[in-house]
């Protein structure tokens, strides 16, 4: 992770968003390629522009993304459709990115979230070891803050 805000703060924001919005318990874990490698992910990204430039990425394994969407919409996981899953992940990304932005000094603007679904582990960008990793409800969550002009 490349930023001025301590990693512990990013962990705190992530845990706060997941517990308050979804009621899910989330724990930081060490990156484990064996565990993550078999999964596909839903990835959300917001960019921050202004005196600080960069991007915040939030992702989670597809089954967990479905459960998260179901919790936000108040329905059973099997009833959440692809659009609702993208929408929910986008909003969670918006909250993590927005909370991160409020810690930055200077004048910055937060973008609208962009969500990509069913991303295989090998295509997660930035590369998986660069992310902070969490376990939640049997699924995996990843978070990354990348300083610099987003690609």
């Amino acid at each position: 992770m490349s930023a001025e805000i301590p990693t512990a703060k990013l962990h705190e924001i992530t845990k706060n968003v997941w517990s308050m919005v979804l009621g899910f318990r989330i724990q930081p874990v060490k990156f484990d390629a064996g565990k993550a490698g078999a999964q596909e992910f839903v990835l959300g990204k917001v960019t921050i522009s202004g005196t600080w430039q960069g991007a915040v990425t939030l992702g989670c394994s597809t089954n967990l993304a479905r459960r998260a969407a179901a919790a936000m919409f108040g329905k059973a996981p099997a009833e959440a459709d692809a659009g609702e899953i993208r929408d929910a992940l986008g909003e969670l990304t918006n909250m993590v990115g927005g909370n991160y932005k409020t810690l930055l000094k200077g004048d910055c603007k937060l973008s609208i979230p962009n969500v990509t679904d069913t991303v295989p582990f090998g295509q997660v960008n930035p590369a998986p070891p660069e992310h902070e990793w969490f376990e939640c409800e049997g699924g995996m969550v990843l978070v990354n803050v990348l300083k610099g002009t987003p690609r």
Partner: protein, 126 residues
């Protein structure tokens, strides 16, 4: 009481709606809009007692909506629910006449307190 929820996220609109129901606003008439432009048309045709809007949205943002309503002389109780509650945004919201700014994620208590204060005396009105 009529409440208009304005957010580009359908998931967030659903969450706010459910939180309001759980916060004893179960008899409120809650409607939704997905951006400021849609909300502007809705407010002009049928003004609600309270608007709960996101700050950052495509088409027309929440703050642009409030500023446009102000310019047009439309007086409506207005609060923001946003993940981007930076000092600059809170100040701009207050200057434009917002009654409150709640950060996302929010608790049921946060929302209830803010809505109660902004709608004092309107809860039981038709």
């Amino acid at each position: 009481m009529k409440i208009l929820v304005v957010d580009d996220s359908k998931a967030m609109r659903a969450l706010i709606r459910r939180t309001l129901r759980g916060a004893r606003y179960d008899e409120a008439n809650i409607s939704e809009a997905e951006n400021g432009r849609e909300a502007f048309d809705s407010i002009r045709s049928s003004p609600p007692d309270l608007v709960l809007a996101n700050f950052n949205m495509p088409e027309m943002s929440g703050i642009e909506l409030l500023e446009r309503l102000h310019d047009d002389g439309v007086d409506v109780s207005f609060g923001f629910i946003t993940s981007d509650d930076s000092e600059a945004n809170v100040e701009r919201a207050r200057k434009a006449g917002a009654r409150f700014v709640i950060g996302k994620p929010f608790s049921r208590q946060d929302l209830r307190r803010a809505v109660n204060e902004a709608t004092e005396g309107k809860k039981n009105s038709p």
